[in-house]
Structure formats: structure tokens, C-alpha cells
Amino acid sequence: MYGHQGKILHVDLSKNKIWTQDLPEEWRKLYVGSRGINARILWDYCKDPEITWDDPRNILVYAPGAVTGTTAPASGRTSVTTVGCTTGLYLKSNTGGHWGAELKFAGYDHLVVHGVADKPSYIFIEDDQVEILDAKDLWGKDMIQTDALLKKWHGEDSRGLYIGPAGENLVRGASIQCSLYHAAGRGGGAAVMAKKNLKAISVKGSKPVRVKDAKRFAKIAKEMRDLLKADSGAVSLHQFGSSGSIAAVNELHAFPGRNWQTGYTENVYPISGQCLVEKGYLKRRVACFACTIGCHRYSTIDSGPNAGIASGGPEYETFGALGNGPGVIDTEGVIMANEFCNRLGMDTITAGGVAQWAIESYERGVLTKDDTDGLELGWGKIPELLKTIEAMALRKGKLGNLLADGLKIATKKVGQDSYKWAIINAKGLEQSNVETRSAKAYALAFAVNPRGNDHLMTETFAEFGASPEAVALVEKVTGDKKWAAPHFTEHRAEIVRWHEDCYEITEALGFCVFTSTAAYGVNPDNMARLYDAATGISMTEDEMMFTGRRVVTLEKAFNITRGATREHDNLPWRLMNEGAASGPLKGAMNSQEELDGMLDLYYAQHEWDLKTSWPYRNTYEKLGLKDVADYLDKIDRLP
């Protein structure tokens, strides 16, 4: 087969059974790959709402993209899909690194893990040889130790994906990591793995990837590569990493600090990508498989009391969540917290979000010294932050057990007004570090995101109009370039919708979303042409985007089976009720009224019911999802 390898690998841990399935030709046309086909597989196996995240019938689907394994630039990413533990809803989390490409070279487009092993286990895949092996020597080990053991047993050229101690402890904010420092971090997929007694998946592959028209494919890949090479966003990502943008975001008063109480920090330099480079912390610029940008960082502390600390990152989000958020304006403080999270297998966004809430709760007297096991929490206190992370990851003491379940559960336990400063929306995921009060397309996108309020199901960076390409895109989508400014509430629905579809196909093909929504080298037009050259499946740009729409709708439908309605599409209380602290948009909020206005337009445009937010039968049928509509009809979930 061309583009895809043509095989889905199934591993049932309960029955100790391993089998392969041919990749259905129809799915290649309807869902393209990775995130898209994953969504279909999850629907087919887990649509029954009785299947909760910890039910043995829940599955985990891992998939590189339709063009992963090739020279298409930055096409080596992998989607992991499951019923998430943080929200109990649909979860797709996407990771970089080199593991997914290795799975593809082993001959598989998707790996589906079913059931629960009767003891700690890991899966080893070497082409056609697939085994479920005993993980007793891996259980309890951190990322560094786990990766080292897997490489000792299966070779330095094997690639590992794993969970750490936080995952084993069923911590909601635990991350699935691969190639050590890359993570499918959000939403608690690691806890799903742990519930299945699955510690790791080690892969070695030797099967080439073939494309239908290699000459044409190489030409389009070159076109993408050249566009990225010339793109200022991509150049900056290589030079300074994702955290290279922090100074600019801060100047917009949009860099959340102290649990979203501030948007501007006086001296933000110590927690920026520029500082990592200029102060010698950056040791290497690192790329995921086949990525020509190389935005990942490898940073070390070489001297002083913290010498010897080394890890991947920190990223923008980590400098936000574990730096500006808890008030740690300290390079080494964030490097240490980041290293600790990587080693224990924690999502830095959730770890930081939860820690900030705990600090504010302590400051307000809602948490006492008794609740924190004697820790005196406060802004900018590094040792206390590290101890909080440790307590959370290892479920240590009162504090650890409270925080390990994430803010959705912790706010219920603590009660009082603590939900007001928990930066989660009704779905329950800790928000990523974006100031949605002054960026309205982001606000809308975060509210409707099926996995909770973050930027990783769609990203609407274009609304800032920060480059000519971004302005051109907004003009293309809305009809007028004047809408390329983030404070407008008009036309946000169109901007979000376009980005939803584009983001989906970007991930379905295996591309990094930075290439299409932060930089502008990969777009629906060249993706459609590339997919044709790779597979021989010919689609126009619009047809390609339509597959994205289909998948986004299927993901929405999955949440509807779990009872999600319009009320779940909201934003954190603080952002809806307290104004931004400073800057040009001082006082701006994501009020219910403002959000409702955008939601009405968004649902109407999607042909979804305004009251429930549910798609109509006709909407599903137009997308070729009649079976989905039939099921929802049966369980009374059509408007």
C-alpha cells in the first residue's frame, strides 16, 4: 500500500491475543489517517456511554500519520486516542518524538490496545513479531530508567513510549511520554494505560514506507520545506523554541501569571527561549522525526547548586504553567520543575495549573497548613513548588491525594468558592497558558474544544495577524483582513471552524500543527496534493477540509454520548467574571453574554442545534455519518 502501511495492529491484554486487520480503503478516503481514523476506531469500540475511562472495554489507539515516515517536513507526529480520565470525554493527545515513525516502519498505521493485563506488562513490537511482556522490572521506574531498560533489552535503536510513576498512580495530570521528553501529555491518557497495567510500548521497525508518485511527492514536500524555511515563525521556533514568543505575548499583556491574575510580568526574560540560548542553558536544538524546524530544546544546568539537571524543554507552556503561573521568574527553577515533571511523567500544563490553584487557595486560607502537610505555599517559592509536584505525582500525603485527581475533583472536595480560581471549564481540563479574555477566537475555540479548554485541538493564532500570511488567511476565511485582530468577537466562528478542519487534517497526515497554524508552510491545498501523490487518493482542498469536518463532528458526537451539551462549552469562572488586570484590554472578560453570542454563530454555522449544541441528523448525514446519527437517535441524543 502507498502512504499508509495498510495494517492495524490489535493487542488484547485481557485475552493475551494479538491480531492484525487490513486498513479499510474507505477509511483512507473518509478519515485519512491518525487522528481521523483513531476517532472512527474509538467510536466503533467505545461509543456506549457505559464505557468509562477506567472500564476494561476502553481502548487506547496510537497512530502515526498518513505520510509519517517520509520526507514531508515535520510529518512524524502521533495521535493517541481514548476515553480520557481527566474529563471522562473524548481524548486525543498528540506527541512528537520518534516512536510513531518507528511504529509505521514496523508496518502499522494504528495500534489498538484492548482490555486489562493481569499484571504490569509492556508490549514489544519488532515488525511482525509482537509480544506482551512482563513489566515487573519497569513498574515504579521513572522515564529515564524505563527508557534505559527498554533500550538495554531491545537495543539502542528501539523507540519507547511509556508512563512514569505519576501515571502508575493514576494521577489525572500524568502524561504518556515517548523518546523521553516528548509527551501526549494532556487529558490523562497515562492513567488509562496504568489502568490497563500497560507500562510501555517498545518498537523496532524495518519496513519501508512507499508513496505512489515519488517524484511528485518529493516536489510537494520540497515546496512545503521551502515555505517553512522562509517563514519567520518557523525560523524563530528553531532559534528560540516555542518559548521564543514569551516576550511578545507578555507585551500584549496576555501571558498569564499568578493563576491568571496578571497578564504582564515586569522582567520576563529569565523565563524565555532567548534566555535559554543566551545564558548557555540550551545544549541542543532538537527535532521530532523528519522535522525540518527543530523547535524542541535540550537544556542543562552546568554549574552552581543545581548543576547536573538536564532534560528536554522547557516549552512555552512550561515556562507559563511552572514559571509565570506560580510566580517562578527563575530560569533554573523552571528547568528543575520541568525536569522533575518529565522524569515522573507529569503534564507540565496540568501540574502547573493545579499547583497555582493550590497556592492561591493557601493564600486565601481555603487550604491550611494541615491540608498541605506543613508546606507553606506561595508565589515564587521553588522548593515548595517542587514538593507540590512530587506530592501530586506520587500521591503523597493529604496534599498529594487532593491534587492528584486534578482540579475538577479537588474543587469539589475543597468546596467554598475554590472553583472560582480553578482555571478549568465545565469539561474539567486545566487550561493551557493562553489569555482568552483578550483573544476571542481562542476563547471560542477553547470553549468548544471536545477535550477541554486548551489550544491543542485547534489553534487560532492567525487572529493576531502577526504576519502577512496570518492576515491573508484571516482575509481568506472572513472576507476582510480587518478582522485579523484578536479583540473582535465578529467572525470568530468562521476563524475557529477553518482552523478546526485544518488542524484535524494536519494531524491526520502526521504533520505538526505548528506547520499549518503557527507557521504557514503546510496548508489544505498542498496537503491535498501531497496526499494524492502519496496514496493516489485524489481530493481537492475543500474535499480534504471536509474530511476534517467529518472527524471534528464525530469527536463532538462522542462527547454527546457522554451527555455533553452546550453547558460544557464554557470557560473558567475567573475568565468569565474577572477582567484582565492590565494592558490595552484591561477589564476584558469572556462574559457569558459575549461567549453566547459567539457560540450561537458557531453552532449555526456548523448546523448544530443552538439549545443543546448537538448536530442535527441531517448534519451527520451530509458528512456520511448516518450510522452515528442512528446511534444517537437510539440513545435519544439528537436535537
Binding site: 520526507t71 539502542e156 519496513k207 519501508p208 515519488a214 518529493a218 532538537v286 527535532a287 523528519a290 527543530g294
Partner: protein, 163 residues
């Protein structure tokens, strides 16, 4: 002016575009194991070491081949493998000073970079600039040697640690 390939490990991000490009141009498919250039990865320190034929002055591979299957172009230094006479014994792999030779995963024949006859396809894929096709001058030759020594020192250190 004569050209040569400059390899700067410090700029290598470990993405493997070069190996993929090589397998594409040589065999019309994508497989990093079929690249005449290999990126040896040490993931825990996020390191990638590019390894390939250096067109060196001592060419122990040619002398060591028991079948005389390797020949060297005097002008370019490029080594050619005679697939008819190569017996897949791997002697050249073992003697290569720069660990630049591998056996083909399917045919078992030695794979040696031939610089694509003077326009290496991998170079245009290396956006970070770890691979550069430069004019051969005293300066660049010196630079190449220096970079290579540094690269080999890291390679030896890794192998020593592994052993």
C-alpha cells in the same frame, strides 16, 4: 572548484531527513535503514551523530575487502561498491575509521555514500545546516577535519559508555 560535504554535528537536530532523502533518491522509497548516511541517536541526551563515508585519504575499506569489491576514484575519493563481487561479509563496515558504512537491510551489500555524483540530495533536506556542500579550500578542509574529530570523539565516548 571542487566541492565537499561539511558535516557539523552541533547543528544536527536528529530529524533523519537526510537518511530518508537518501533512501528516496537511491531506492525510490523511505527507509532510514537504507540511507547511506545514518543518524546515530542517543535519545537521553537528545543527540544525533551523522555518520557517512568521508572520502578519507586512508580508505582502509578498499584494502580490507577480501574480494576487492571496492574501488576508489582518485580525484573525488568516492568509493564504489561492486554488487556482483561483494559477499556481504561486513569487513569494510568494521574497518571504516568513521563508521560510515552499513550493509543493506535487504541485499546485505555494502552501502557507501557516493555524494550523489556531485550534488548530494541529503544536503537540500538539511534545513538546520548540519550538512553543507561547500567549496573545497584549505579552510574548509581544516574545518571538516576539526568537526569530524569532535564528532568521532563523541562517538567513541558513547560506545565506551555503552560497553
Amino acid at each position: 572548484m571542487a566541492k565537499m560535504l561539511l558535516v557539523d554535528m552541533d547543528k544536527c537536530t536528529g530529524c533523519k531527513q537526510c537518511s530518508l532523502a537518501c533512501s528516496l533518491t537511491k531506492e525510490g522509497l523511505f527507509d532510514p535503514n537504507r540511507g547511506r548516511i545514518k543518524i546515530l541517536k542517543k535519545e537521553v541526551i537528545a543527540l544525533g551523530i551523522p555518520l557517512l563515508c568521508e572520502q578519507c585519504d586512508t580508505y582502509p575499506c578498499v584494502d580490507a575487502c577480501p574480494e576487492g569489491a571496492l574501488t576508489r576514484d582518485e580525484t573525488t575519493g568516492i568509493i564504489t561498491v561492486n554488487a556482483e563481487t561483494c559477499t556481504e561479509c561486513g569487513t569494510c563496515v568494521d574497518v571504516c575509521t568513521y563508521h560510515g558504512i552499513r550493509l543493506h537491510p535487504e541485499t546485505g551489500k555494502a552501502m557507501i555514500c557516493d555524494l550523489c555524483g556531485g550534488d548530494p540530495y541529503c544536503v537540500q533536506h538539511c534545513v538546520p545546516g548540519a550538512l553543507e556542500w561547500v567549496d573545497k579550500t584549505d579552510d574548509t578542509v581544516n574545518k571538516k577535519r576539526k568537526l569530524r574529530s569532535a564528532r568521532m570523539a563523541v562517538y567513541r565516548k558513547l560506545k565506551k559508555e555503552a560497553a
